[in-house]
Structures are given as C-alpha cells and as structure tokens.
Amino acid sequence: MRGPVMKIEDIAVRYGDCWSIRSATITLEPGVIHAILGENGAGKSTLLKAAVGFAPRVAGTVRIEGGAGAIGMVHQHFMLVSAFTALENLVLGNEPTGSFGRLDLAKARREAEALMEKTGLRVNLDARTSELAVGERQRLEILRVLYRGARAILLDEPTAVLSPLEAEELYTTLGVLAEGGATIAVVTHRMDEVIRFAGHVTIMRRGRTVLSRPIAAEERSDPKRLEDVLTRAIMGGEPPPETSPPALAQDAKVALSIEDLVLVDAGGKRVLDGLSLTVKKGEIVGIAGIEGNGQRELVRAAAGLEPGVAGSIVLDGARLPAVRSTEDLRKRRRAIAVVHEDRHADGLMLDASVGDNLVLGELGEIDGPGAEAALITRRIERFGVYPPEPARRAGELSGGNQQKVVVGRALDRIEASPERALVVLGQPTRGVDVGAASTIHGAIVKAAEKGLAVLVVSADLGELRRLSHRILVIHRGRIVAELPPTTSDDVIGRAMLGMEDA
C-alpha cells in the first residue's frame, strides 16, 4: 500500500483577518516519518488541515497523488463517540450494511480484525470507548483512518496525552506503517521524538516553512548538536538559556507536608488514595504521572477547592484548617498560590481585559486605580506579556501569553504576600512554546530562590527534569516513587504505569 506523494506549494491560509500560514511549501513522500515542529501559532496544525482540505486556503496549490481520499487525519482532540464500542467507532461513517441499510457488524468485525492483523495495531473491539485508555483510543483513531482506505496519515500532536512508553509504542507502529509504504506526518512539540524517530523534519516559524530537510542517520549520533540546530530554526535565533533549579540549602526546613490525603469522587472512586509528600523551603518538587491519576485533585485540594478531602496539609508547621467559606479560602490564598492546569476553565476570563485578569481576586488588597494600573503594568513587563496592552481582551492573546498572565498573577502576588509559603503549579507550560516556557520557568526558579516551596505537576518530563530537585511519581492517587531528576525516561515511565521495579 504505497502512500501518495503530497506536494504543498506556497500555500497561505487566513482565518478572518489573521494569517495562520503566510507561505508554506512542503513535500511529503511515503516511506519515512515526517515531523513538523514550531512554536505555538506557527501554523503547524493548520498546515495539516490545509493538506486535508479543512483550512480556508487563499493561495498556493496542494497536489496529492491519487486524490484527497487517500488521506486521513488524527486530530489532537479525539473524534470518537464515547458511548459506542470500539468496533462501532471504527466503522463510523463507513459502516458495512446489509439489505434495507441494516448494519452488518459481523462483516465489520471480520474486516476490522483483518486490518488489525495486517498492521499489528490491537484494540479490544468490544470495549466501550469511554473505558479505553488514551493510548488505545489513539490506536482506534489510526485504525479508523486506515479502515477508510487512507494511505497517508497526518497526526496532530499525538503524543501530548501519552506516557513515554505509549509514545514509543506509537512511533514504532508509525515506523512500521511508513516502512510498509504509507505517508506519515506528525506535528509535535517534543524535540526528542523528532531526533529519535523522524526521517524528515520541517520547521515552521510565524506562518512560514523555514526548514524542510531529511535527517541523516549520522546526525542522530550527536543528538545535542541536532537539537541545537533545530531549536535555532524554531526560535529564529539563539535558544533561551536552560533553566536549572536553584541551590538548595542542606538544612532547609520542611515547608509543606501532606499526609494521607484521601478524596473520593462522586462515582465512589478514590481519586486521591493516601497521598503523602513533603516539600522544603526553596525546593522545587516535580510530580510526574499519566493524566487522570489524581494530579488535578491534588492541586485543587492544596488550593482549598475540594471540601470533601480527608487527611492533613501542614504548612510551616501548622495544619491548615478545612475551607468552609470564601473567607477561609482567601486566608489560604495568602500563603499559597495556585495555577490550575486548565487555564481556560479555572484561570482566565477570556472576555475580560488582560488587566482585569492580572488582578482577579485582588481588588480588596489594592488601594485605588492608580496602584492597580501600576501593578498591572509591572506584571505585564515582568512576564513579557505580548501585546503589552492592559485593555486588550485576554481571549485575543496566544496560548503562551495567556499562560504568562495566569502564572504571572499567581507568582507576583504570592511573592509580595507576607505569609507566603507555597506555590502549586498544574501544567505550567502545557501547549506553550519554548520562549514563553522559558520565561515561566525562570519565574518559578526565582520564586524558589525567594524561599517558597514549589510543587510542579507536569506531563512534560523534560520540564520536570530541568526544574525539580526531586521528582515524585503519582499513580492512582498516591505517590509511588521518588526519583532524582537525572532518572531516565524509561524508569520514570515505568513508575508512571505503576510497575513495581521502578
């Protein structure tokens, strides 16, 4: 099944008045994994969408050998019906039917099994889709694309939701498909994946393809150098300096100690199941884990937003009282700053101005419009929020700048608080590009230098490794391993899956 050659020449894509792609040229050939890299908003996802015809193209040509029907796309957010079985989702839109349009599931099953046999991608066809693990759901998406007869597969950030082991498995599968002659293109933020698995790399910057070339085998032997070359191309200049955690005093006192935290959700599941950890003053502790293992609840419990939580949170030697009123919450907020992982749900008001967002919850402490304007200007400058206009609607900012607003508000506020003790950050740089991430990392390190205890929950192991003094692994609502930041992906990944020998 040789895949089609896709030639995209000098295309431009515009949404409203905003250019998503100014000029992009790329040739995708079958046989290798094509990686597409770039900052947020550089136009990577749009490039894929333009290839399958989803994006409003205003110029340029897209030529596909054998017609557009041969291409399938796996979106960043899966497009599966969660109430269906895997088999039903697999054939959705291309259902084999008998007389009078009757669904022929037996035939569907035969075809699906033949396909799984051929590709080596396995999914439990009878399981309800909502019960499948994230990795399985992704395999299901890929199978669905293949089932439709696609010989070219475009994937938009497929590994963002996967554990390291699952990601490796995915690339192995994609490699096999590519060797079998399929055309594969992957958009990703993770440099290490590109270096290990891609045979061809394309880099986009601000709506243009700035680099598109094969990766030679000998380049892989010097990953550091290759990474440097690619980073320069992505940033359009020198890469930002790497952050590292500040020196930690030997006799640093314990600032935060969480003991035996238990939280039972509405369905009776123990989402936090006896979680305990400590963080010292000035220490940055990273929490690694596969999504949905209690990270979100841990952050919310520390913030005081989970009234049903049992166990104790001790801060600077004093046990925090349960939060029963907004007054309690405000009190806790004077000692703890929290950044929630979903900035759109819990952090930002997209329809309010940047200025309003930067002082959300603090009007009681600021005296006068003059002081407020000064505070807003200071925060915008300190975190490099772009564009630096307090009146601009937050929803008009890019994801990276929105995150700067949320993190900036939390960190700047807590550093000025006389009762400051702890910062808890959930996914501080998720979906944020290298430049903004570097600003945010710098601010986190600075907070630790000022003596705050810092807890960082992240799905990005590279981030945790650069920032943390220690990495704790969370699995099914409890801490299952404590590892130094030098630990390999493999070992951390096994611990994240709850394997004993970690």
């Binding site: 890469p239 930002p240 997209l350 309010a352 009007l363 490099g384 290298v434 430049g435």
Partner: protein
C-alpha cells in the same frame, strides 16, 4: 475613527429604514395611504412637543427595567422577574405614599417611598437569587413562578385586605409625587412625562459607571464571565450573584417613580405591566453601555407611542407585530455592527509587511509567542 463609527451604525440605520418600509406595507394592507399613516405616527411621537413628551414618558419605566436586567446579566443571571418585582413594589410603595402625612415635604417623602419600593423589589428578587446562589436552582424558573405568585397576590390584596372594589389604592401624599416635566418645559403640556425621566437617566449613568469602576461592580461582571476562576481566586461568587440579583430587583422597582408617583398619583392593578418584559429588549439592545440603554429605551418608547398614535387607523395588533419585528431587526443589525468594529480592532496589529529573512532577537520572538 469616524469611518468606523459610520460602518458600525449603518446596519442599525438600515434596520430602522426596513422597519419604516414594513410599517408602510402594513398601513397599506389596512387601506391607508402609506405616507399618511407614517405622518400620523411621526406627529404622535417626535413631530410635536406633546408627542415627544409621551415618548419620554413611555421610555422612563424601560430605563429602570432595562438597567435592572443589565445588572443581573453582568453576573450571568437572567432576571426575568422584573414584572413581579415592579408590581409588588408599586403596590407597597403606593400604599406607603398614600399613608404619609400630606404635609411631609418632597425631599423627605419621595426618598422614603422610593426606598420602600426598592426594598420590596429586592425582597421579591431575593427568592430566585438565594435559590440560585445557594442551591443552584435556575433563576428563570423561580422568577417565572414568583411572577405568577405576585400576579395572584395583587388582586387578592385589593379585594380582601384593602376591601377596595376599584382595584386601586388611595391617592398618594402630594410630597411623594414627582412633578410633570411641563413645569419646566411648558410645551410638553398635557404629556405624562415627569421628573422620573431625568431621574432615570441619571440613575442609569451612575449605576453603569459604578458597575464599571467599583470593586463589587467589577467582581459582579467577573463572576458572570467565569465563576470557576473567580472562586479559585477567592471571590465570593455566591455573594456577588446575590448582590447583582437584589440590585436588579431594587432598580426594577424604581420604575414606580414614573407610573404611580409621576403619572397616576395612585397604583391600580396592571399599572406599568409589560415594562419588565420590554426591559429585557432594552438591555439586549443597549449592549452593556449606559448610552445604549438610554437610546434603546427611547427607541422602544417611540414604538409604543407610535402604536397609540396610529391606533385609530391601523389596528393595535399590527403595531405589536411591527414592534416585535423592529426589535429583532435592530438586534440583528447591532450584532452585525459590533462584529464589524470588533474585527477592525483586532486587525490593527496584524498587517505586517512580509519579511523573508527575519532575524529577530530571541527576546522579541519570545514576546510574540
């Protein structure tokens, strides 16, 4: 700048022109020479001082109810209970006003009556407000039910408690009455426009400015935008919702100033009815701006008065159809208008000359991310 304004206003002008055309068609269908019905409508509203006074009179309660709806809307709440809030507040307010000593001067009597009415309005709004804030019961459902309860209570109060067969209260004390505008503008003579109109305009501007500038006002708006984020940052979401809803009820109740106090001199069953509903349209057309609310209220007041003016020639039902159609047209047009200006603003920073060899520093690049 001017060009942008014109572009923004054009759809609204077109919508009104469309409405005038529709009006002519309706008049024609009822056997009137189109232009003559239009002339009657114009003379009955903006064409004569009396007509204009009547427009202001019709617009006054809508200013209060429109503002009331806007305040609740800022907190993300739909206060469709203004009908009931205004009705009960009018009754209690008029009863208090009727029982004040006749010698009480206006600077004392009027504030007392308005305060009582506002308190009653807030009290009626308290039921849906507390149920929403504490228990999450949807305020639309509870407000509809409260409206029905008030609807039932009023006639019963008149007939049983007050023992009145005419379904009206006694005349209010002179100190509680708002004087007519024709005292200062003699050409308004005969129209029912009272000092309630300037009072309403001042309250609209003052309230909107307070909502934009003060801590409670801003927090109300933030709570309406994203309650989860506000809760996480320590804002008392329940209290802000409650405050917005009580304010809304109190403001709706102040419309009594233009009906019982400024016009009739007593309250009778059904006085001011419908203002609560029209207030929703006023707030929607006003788009969150004080001047918008004032213009929208005058616009709806004009339509109401025009309907009365041509009533002899074209049936009132036809005018109701026209009124509803015009509101929809203007609502659509103002959406289109605001979208246009929105895009123009967003586009400002973008148009950037294409550069083929950009060599920005990392810092500037990072800032743009």
């Amino acid at each position: 700048m001017n060009d942008k304004r014109v572009r923004a206003l054009l759809p609204i002008v077109l919508a009104i022109a469309g409405g005038i055309l529709l009006f002519n068609l309706i008049a024609f269908a009822f056997g009137e020479a189109p232009a003559s019905a239009l002339r009657v409508a114009f003379e009955g509203t903006w064409g004569t001082p009396y007509g204009f006074g009547q427009v202001l009179f019709k617009a006054t309660p809508l200013l209060f109810t429109g503002l009331a709806f806007e305040v609740a809307l800022r907190a993300g709440l739909f206060n469709i209970g203004a009908e009931g809030q205004l009705a009960l507040a009018s009754l209690v307010g008029a009863l208090v006003a009727a029982n004040l000593p006749a010698s009480l001067p206006m600077p004392i009597a009027l504030p007392i009556v308005l305060a009582v009415a506002a308190a009653v309005g807030a009290l009626v709004a308290f039921v849906p407000a507390i149920l929403r804030a504490r228990r999450g019961v949807h305020e639309i459902i509870t407000a509809i039910m409260v409206n029905r309860i008030v609807d039932a209570i009023l006639p019963w109060t008149f007939s049983t408690v007050l023992g009145s067969t005419s379904l009206r209260t006694a005349d209010i004390a002179p100190g509680a009455a708002l004087p007519r505008l024709d005292r200062v503008v003699p050409s308004f003579a005969g129209s029912a426009a009272s000092f309630a109109f300037p009072l309403a305009v001042v309250i609209v501007f003052a309230a909107m400015s307070l909502l934009d500038r003060t801590r409670p006002g801003r927090e109300i708006r933030w709570v309406g935008l994203r309650p989860e984020a506000c809760r996480a940052e320590g804002i008392d979401v329940e209290r802000r919702m409650l405050l917005a809803m009580l304010l809304s009820g109190a403001l709706a109740a102040l419309a009594v100033s233009s009906t019982a106090l400024g016009y009739k001199g007593y309250y009778e069953l059904g006085l001011g009815a419908g203002a609560g509903w029209s207030g929703i349209a006023v707030a929607m057309l006003g788009r969150g701006k004080a001047i918008g609310i004032v213009l929208a209220a005058i616009f709806l007041g004009t339509l109401e008065q025009a309907g009365l003016a041509v009533n002899a020639r074209v049936p009132k039902e036809a005018m109701d159809v026209l009124e509803a159609t015009l509101i929809v047209l203007v609502a659509v047009a103002s959406r289109v208008a605001s979208k246009r200006t929105g895009v123009v603003q967003a586009a400002d920073p973008e148009p950037e000359p294409p550069r083929d060899n950009p060599a920005p520093t990392p810092a500037s690049e990072e800032a743009r991310s």
